[in-house]
Symmetry: C2
Subunit: 264 residues, 2 copies
């Protein structure tokens, strides 16, 4: 799977590319049916909201769940990122964000690379995210908001917010967000389950809380060029991975195969 | 100003009618320029979010501010409501909801008449809301969400939520909202400042938090047929008014006049 020249140009200008319905309903189902079992586990990797119940994010499921292991090496995920980052990549972070119906909390305005640089000493923003929608993302259930072009601002000043949610995050101040949004506006790509979003490590983004009756499960995989691996191991290895082996893609039907096994 | 037969039929079926750009930019400006002064006041009527700073809602501004006094008797507000409620009306509640940029908190799923019945002993749901947008309402800044047709459910069971936000509210449980939304979906009418929304007292609605850099100021006026006035005076008079005198409309240019005075 290769991005078109147009997609590559859009990524350079806006900092993101949206590819609707990249995974089929059967492939999505093979992933989604694993989520309740993962979210039910009591383990450090499963991080809950302030209410102590709803799952905010589940880290590293690709290390202990077969369906997510396959997703983490799926060519439709990995190849476009290899193309943009121009070389082999490893997984820096892998998480399933719950943003559960009624109780899913906000993610404040931030740049992911801000955290990767400050906490993990990742040398350059030669790393990016890919988001896979496991539910339909609509205007109601907490769609991700991007400020297009903001990735070209470099690393912006940030404060370490330990209070707003259950998860510590390097967040941007109001004035910075106000200025960036005044210049370029805000977009919130929405689409059916199976859609994917590629976005730059320095793109400014946030997502509101979800008070709708519909879950908004999204898998976020942060991929980094292998030469650009992190230098500091402050955070747990299940948050900031330390295996810098280049990902070898599986076959394109690796998820479909699981779906077919389940159907039998 | 009269609603069309089509609007009246839509209100009966869906529980709301959206009328974009009912007030002109000049009229909106005459109201909006008063808001910072009102929000800056330290008085019981100005209710803040949990952070103690951002204004959640400012009650009864029509009793002490000339621009909002005029709005409260504006024929474009009052006449459609008199038409639907079929007779003279009084103001049961008047508030300016801040839903301020970055800090505006949620309003949980509820029916307004649930509160009017339980707290104020309003005999029948012969009362409704009219919302006037003082800012553009978009997908980003916390648009009101309605479940169409839910007003025909009557008064639904509710619990008194004293914890989620700074303001006590009779809220619906998740299962009720889930079922109603599964049947009829959710809508979030959006439009430019000056638009108005009429909605039934038993319509199920909510609004998410606002983490965008844009305020979402909306005036909500709850109007009640004069014969249906409240019987119990438990809440302060600036929350649940006790003057049941029928509203006499001012002239259609009453706000424009203020705007012109300001321009001079």
């Amino acid at each position: 799977m290769r991005l078109s020249d147009e997609d590559v140009a859009r990524f350079a200008d806006e900092g993101y590319v949206f590819l609707p319905e990249t995974f089929s309903p059967a492939e999505v189902a093979a992933l989604r049916r694993e989520v309740p079992g993962i979210f039910a586990q009591c383990r450090d990797e499963v991080w809950r909201e302030r209410d102590g119940t709803a799952v905010r994010t589940a880290f590293a499921a690709h290390t202990y769940n077969e369906a997510f292991r396959r997703l983490a090496a799926h060519p439709r995920m990995i190849e476009p990122v290899q193309q943009i980052l121009d070389g082999p990549v490893y997984i820096h972070q892998f998480k399933i964000n719950g943003k559960q119906a009624f109780d899913g909390d906000v993610w404040q305005w931030h740049q992911d690379y801000g955290t990767w640089a400050r906490d993990d000493e990742m040398p350059e923003p030669r790393a990016m995210n890919i988001a896979v929608f496991l539910d339909d993302v609509t205007e109601f259930n907490g769609a991700l908001m991007f400020i297009p072009g903001s990735h070209r601002s470099g690393i912006l000043d940030a404060g370490h917010d330990l209070e707003t949610t259950s998860y510590p995050l390097w967040t941007l101040d109001h004035e910075t967000v106000r200025k960036l949004a005044a210049a370029r506006g805000i977009v919130a790509p929405k689409g059916p389950a199976g859609s994917i979003l590629l976005f730059h490590g320095t793109l400014v983004h946030a997502s509101p809380g979800n008070i709708s009756p519909w879950d908004r499960t999204i898998v976020y995989v942060s991929l980094c060029h292998v030469e650009n691996h992190i230098r500091r191991f402050k955070r747990p290895a299940w948050i900031a991975h330390r295996d810098f082996t280049p990902i070898a893609c599986l076959s394109d039907d690796c998820l479909l195969e699981l779906a077919e096994q389940a159907a039998e």
